[in-house]
């Protein structure tokens, strides 16, 4: 029975797309942000993670959706672009309000004070969101649980390396031979980087195989895999752990390197994949990707 080969997720996608194509909805009849998220939940198919960071972070979930934007991080510049293009539902991978808490927080017992409810940057950002009728949903845990390597595939595609993946659903790619320095220049250009990229290890290393690990990479993961590639390319690490391991490996005479491009900028291409996927699930509203970009510049 061939039909058994169609996964539940795929079935919902096909069924959902067919149903919505038949009844395009407009204006006041457009589905609400809440309905869109419910659609997305069923389309993702698996167990919806509720004890993580995902959820509505700003705006009214009952707002009818005109257009959708995905981004690695809902920074002000992204929100301005979204508002200009009439996108009023934003799926962001990282927080909106300056931390995992994603909003005002009472002081902690150790004396750390988080965001206060009368913080002027918080209030101004919230005012912009409300004035423009934006609704923001953090899509982190559930997007990552969809398939482990969408963020990786997105980054590889953006870097022009998608076709030589060593193993399915993994971060190893064979790329055109070049030195570490040349590869870094290529990455800078393809990801439109400003000042966020930092590289450690052997700048003259001959690079043929790279390991792509978008987002944050723990030392435990990196140490386990560091010797599988000539160049490990990730978003963010701890300098005092991972970066010094890479520097020590070089001192010990191994010809490898570590490149950190910035956490958010490494997640941008994966949220482009997310936009592409959303287009297969949502047909009533246009979906676009708005990259958050590289926030850093270098001191001259």
């Amino acid at each position: 029975m061939k039909i058994l080969d169609i996964s539940r997720r795929r079935f919902v996608q096909v069924a959902g797309a067919a149903a919505t194509a038949q009844f395009p909805l407009r204006g006041a009849d457009a589905p609400t942000a809440k309905a869109m998220v419910q659609r997305l939940q069923s389309a993702l198919g698996g167990q919806w993670v509720t004890d993580g960071v995902d959820g509505f972070k700003a705006g009214d979930p009952n707002t009818p959706v005109k257009a959708i934007a995905t981004t690695a991080m809902a920074i002000m510049d992204v929100l301005k672009q979204a508002a200009r293009s009439s996108a009023n539902l934003i799926f962001t991978h990282e927080p909106t309000f300056f931390g995992r808490q994603d909003g005002p927080a009472p002081p902690r017992s150790d004396g750390f004070t988080g965001l206060s409810a009368d913080d002027p940057v918080y209030l101004a950002k919230k005012e912009f969101i409300d004035k423009n009728g934006l609704v923001i949903f953090r899509l982190h845990d559930n997007w990552l649980s969809r398939r482990s390597s969408d963020m990786t595939a997105g980054l590889a595609e953006k870097l022009g390396w998608a076709k030589n993946r060593v193993r399915p659903d993994d971060g190893l790619y064979d790329i055109p031979a070049a030195t570490a320095e040349e590869t870094v220049a290529h990455i800078r250009q393809k990801l439109k980087l400003r000042g966020g990229l930092r590289a450690a290890g052997d700048r003259t290393a001959a690079v043929k195989r790279v390991l792509l690990l978008p987002g944050f990479t723990t030392a435990a993961v990196m140490l386990k895999r560091y010797r599988e590639a000539d160049l490990t390319i990730t978003g963010e690490v701890r300098e005092w752990e991972n970066t010094f391991y890479a520097a020590d490996v070089f001192t010990a005479g191994e010809r490898r390197g570590l490149v950190t491009v910035g956490r958010v900028v490494s997640e941008d291409p994966g949220m482009r994949v997310c936009a592409g996927w959303l287009k297969t699930v949502v047909t009533e509203a246009p979906v676009r990707w708005i990259p958050a970009g590289d926030p850093y510049w270098r001191a001259a």
Partner: protein, 260 residues
């Protein structure tokens, strides 16, 4: 003198009760009772730094940060790691002893990591600062000009900044290493070593970028972890010279790991 005797002297002079439960401020490698020819103070026990110390005839390293790439210097998962084997092999062969001085440095008055960090970026008024120096005034300048000065004076290769380089700034809040302070209303610039970029306790990068977009001038200057605490380890060595006699003490900097 042995490593243990040197550490005992430091404990007596540090000026705060010694916390034996600190997992950081302990011997990390070598025999504490072996004789010490010379002491190298440094920010981080990198392999390159170990070699330079050994070549200078210094077989004890006093470092602010770890040796084995994790805060607790756990080694149980590293025993088969070729780099761990090479690094420990080198230290063993050269009878080197490593001791970490972290938690107690941050409770000393002054905290040399903070004093050194403020000096290394050209901010005055923190000569006797503790771990939390508070907001310090600087002659009014722009974020870009301040960042250039910080880069030039600290010698850092990879100083990353966020916000508008033309923003007018006159107040600085600095925290060393991973203790980059959160941006607050009473300062214009935060200077730090490193900090998680997003999804942390308080995401400075996003806050400062958004503030700039909303016309609120703030600035973030990230020096890198080593650069931000390196100068303080030279100060620690000078302080130790006032009460440790007969054993040479030298500052052997750890290299900034970045080539770009």
């Amino acid at each position: 003198m042995t490593g243990r005797e040197i550490v005992e002297l430091v404990k007596q002079k540090v000026g705060v009760p010694w916390r034996e439960q600190s997992y950081r401020d302990t011997f990390k490698f070598g025999d504490p009772d072996s004789p010490i020819k010379g002491i190298a103070t440094t920010m981080m026990v990198t392999f390159g730094m170990l070699k330079r110390a050994n070549e200078a005839g210094l077989n004890m390293v006093i470092a602010h940060e770890p040796t084995f790439w994790n805060d607790r210097d756990e080694t149980k998962d590293l025993l088969n790691d070729p780099l761990y084997q090479a690094k420990t092999g080198y230290m063993r062969e050269n009878s080197m002893v490593v001791w970490r001085m972290h938690d107690h440095m941050h409770s000393m008055q002054p905290d040399y990591t903070v004093v050194g960090s403020l000096r290394s970026v050209g901010v005055k008024g923190g000569e006797n600062a503790g771990m939390r120096p508070g907001v310090l005034p600087i002659p009014e300048t722009t974020l870009g000009a301040f960042a250039s000065q910080a880069k030039r004076r600290s010698g850092a290769r990879a100083v990353r900044c966020v916000s508008d380089p033309k923003a007018k700034v006159g107040k600085v809040l600095l925290g060393p290493g991973y203790a980059t302070p959160r941006m607050s209303l009473d300062t214009d610039i935060v200077v730090g070593g490193e900090q998680q970029e997003a999804d942390g306790l308080f995401d400075n990068v996003q806050y400062v970028a958004d503030a700039a977009s909303l016309g609120i001038p703030k600035g973030l200057v990230m020096l890198g972890h080593v650069v931000s605490e390196q100068a303080g380890m030279e100060d620690l060595g000078k302080w130790m010279q006032t009460f440790i006699k007969g054993v040479p003490i030298q500052f052997v900097p750890a290299d900034e790991p970045y080539w770009t």
